[in-house]
């Protein structure tokens, strides 16, 4: 059971990375994107393909995954960010589906529905990070989440964070204040995408195999829920949200009650939580983080 808890923490870490990215896009940028699964998949496949075909080490594939995801973020972001609200949600949802559809059909590159197996384990200075024993992997993931958190936290207090907040609150007013809204939106999108790509790399290194079935629309929805459940515009809350959603997802297994609880239960519970949460606490558990600008040191 303790081992299982460690596993939940690992999944929390992977999803927390995606949730941090989603928070930049949705929480700060106010853009309703439903495409983290697509970037997640791109990151996973980048690592899987480079590591198995070209024998690259995980650490070499990681930046490629991040840059490739960022590139696709730019590609999809530039044109679609002109769209508003629901339309953006649909366009990004469509992009996520296209990614999965292409991965499933581009057999020569991705091995199609068979997926890619035997991805080598991560090594750090000759020490193998065995995902089965979990501790080392968890520690590494923890560091990655922490770094991402610090970077994003800093970003939120920067000029860009303030610009995004302004854009989210009132686009037209922000524009008339001379803020280049498209630029900042695209930045946010690229950042969010690249961190999801990194999450994908870790996912591939943890499961040691990838197949297109993992990267469904459900993943994007779950990530969005994590951000909303925790509290939009609050990076700590995104991590908390990731933990809670993962905990709920694996609750029947964690408590050992899978024999009693019907398998559909967790999805039904998940649905109920969404509805109840939206009605009673739409601002999320922790709510939006108030940033004080009076302190010195941050520009």
């Amino acid at each position: 059971m303790f081992n299982f808890f460690l596993l939940i923490l690992i999944y929390t870490g992977i999803y927390a990375l995606m949730a941090l990215g989603q928070n930049v896009i949705t929480g700060y940028g106010g853009m309703l994107s439903l495409t983290q699964a697509g970037f997640f998949a791109i990151g996973s496949y980048a690592t899987a393909i480079l590591a198995t075909r070209l024998g690259w080490s995980f650490w070499a594939t990681l930046p490629v995954a991040a840059i490739l995801s960022a590139f696709f973020g730019l590609l999809i972001g530039l044109p679609t960010l002109r769209l508003k609200g629901d339309y953006l949600a649909i366009a990004t949802l469509g992009f996520g589906e296209i990614v999965r559809n292409v991965l499933n059909n581009w057999d020569s590159l991705t091995n199609g529905p068979m997926g890619i197996q035997k991805i080598p384990m991560i090594t750090v200075f000759g020490f193998v990070v065995n995902p089965y024993t979990k501790y080392a992997f968890l520690a590494m993931l923890f560091i990655a989440v922490f770094i991402a958190y610090l970077l994003f936290q800093r970003l939120a207090r920067s000029r860009m964070g303030r610009a995004l907040t302004a854009v989210r609150e009132d686009e037209i007013a922000a524009q008339s204040m001379g803020i280049n809204i498209t630029k900042y939106k695209v930045y946010a999108f690229i950042l969010g995408a690249s961190v999801a790509g990194v999450a994908g790399s870790f996912q591939a290194a943890f499961t040691l195999s990838v197949s297109p079935g993992t990267y469904t629309f459900m993943v994007s929805v779950m990530v969005l829920c994590m951000v909303v459940l925790g509290g939009m515009g609050n990076f700590k809350a995104s991590i908390l949200g990731a933990f809670i959603i993962q905990l709920i997802s694996y609750l029947p297994q964690l408590t050992g009650l899978t024999a009693i609880i019907p398998p559909q239960f967790k999805q039904i519970l998940f649905g109920l939580i969404l509805v109840i949460m939206m009605i009673w606490r739409p601002q999320g558990l922790l709510g939006r983080e108030r940033i004080k600008y009076s302190k010195g040191g941050t520009r």
Binding site: N101, P262, Q264, L272
Partner: protein
């Protein structure tokens, strides 16, 4: 490619499009009035199909095809429409009404939640197996100059056309329709003008869900009944609604047919691998959104400061 094959592909595309159009009408109706994507629409459709199946099988017993099976089918459809309408109103009351003044994200997520509850609830209650919905009429294909079409396909096209016209007349000509348009335009003002907004919205969901039930049953004849039947079909229909111009009733019809034909022709004539059919649909969606975000037949809305 022979001329017969071309027309066969065209026919396949049209009837697939008819299915998309059938579902898209319900989506667009709700969006048109409330500016809200009802993600649970596809799952209401699934519920409608299950209800229709149970009622039809119960009424039919072991009767052979004939007048009685057609009557039983219509009765099953009416019952299913009524129950689905109630279900739609119930969902609106519980999951969407409290969120009317919230941000746009809130009802969207709430709808996704409802969708999970419905599809997984159905899987739990009715199992995961596909169930056959028997044709209530003789579905022997008809061949016209080497192009084959089934009575069922004609029915789907006919029903979506009739539904589109009826819906259009309802919204344009009736008192309730007028109230709906007023609500769509400006809720607070409509309320001040004496429109019972709650009733209008309830009614919108009732009609949308009844339409979904009709779609569900007609689709089930061809595609069977199963718990996850609403998900992908619903998504595609939604794409169709957006392509045609969401909120626009004739747009939904047009978008559905266009999407069906494009998917079919993309694969059959332009040689895109069949596995990439979904990519065509979503690619068209993104393209349309970029060129004309309001959809092909949609109206441009000016943003006010």
């Amino acid at each position: 490619m022979g001329i017969a094959e071309f027309f066969q592909h065209l026919m396949n595309g049209l009837t697939l499009g008819g299915i998309y159009a059938l579902i898209a009408l319900g989506y667009t109706m709700v969006y048109g009035i409330l500016k809200f994507i009802n993600f649970a629409h596809g799952d209401v459709l699934m519920a409608g199909a299950f209800i229709g199946l149970f009622v039809f099988d119960w009424l039919r017993g072991s009767a052979p095809l004939g007048a009685w099976t057609i009557i039983a089918f219509f009765l099953a459809m009416v019952v299913s429409m009524a129950v689905s309408a109630l279900l739609g109103m119930f969902i609106e009351r519980v999951a969407y009404k409290p969120l009317r003044t919230a941000t746009r994200l809130a009802p969207l997520l709430s709808a996704i939640g409802v969708s999970f509850i419905l599809s997984n609830g159905a899987a739990w209650a009715f199992g995961t197996r596909s169930r056959k919905f028997n044709y209530p009429f003789d579905n022997t294909p008809i061949t016209i100059a080497q192009v084959v079409i089934t009575p069922h396909q004609i029915l789907i096209l006919a029903v979506s056309l009739v539904m589109m016209i009826a819906l259009k007349l309802f919204v344009d000509r009736t008192r309730m329709g007028k109230a709906m348009r007023a609500t769509s335009l400006d809720q607070p003002t409509a309320m001040l003008m004496g429109v019972n907004v709650n009733k209008v919205i309830s009614m919108t969901f009732a009609i949308g869900s009844a339409l979904a039930a009709v779609g569900g049953i007609l689709i089930a004849l061809d595609f069977k009944v199963y718990a996850s039947m609403g998900t992908m079909t619903g998504l595609k229909a939604f794409v169709a609604a957006v392509v045609g111009g969401i909120g626009n009733i004739s747009g939904a019809m047009f978008g559905g047919i266009l999407l069906g034909v494009l998917e079919t022709f993309g694969v059959a004539i332009f040689g895109i691998p069949t596995g990439l059919k979904d990519t065509i649909a979503f690619g068209v969606l993104i393209l349309i959104l970029l060129i004309r975000p309001e959809g092909l037949l949609g109206k441009v809305e000016k943003e006010k400061v």
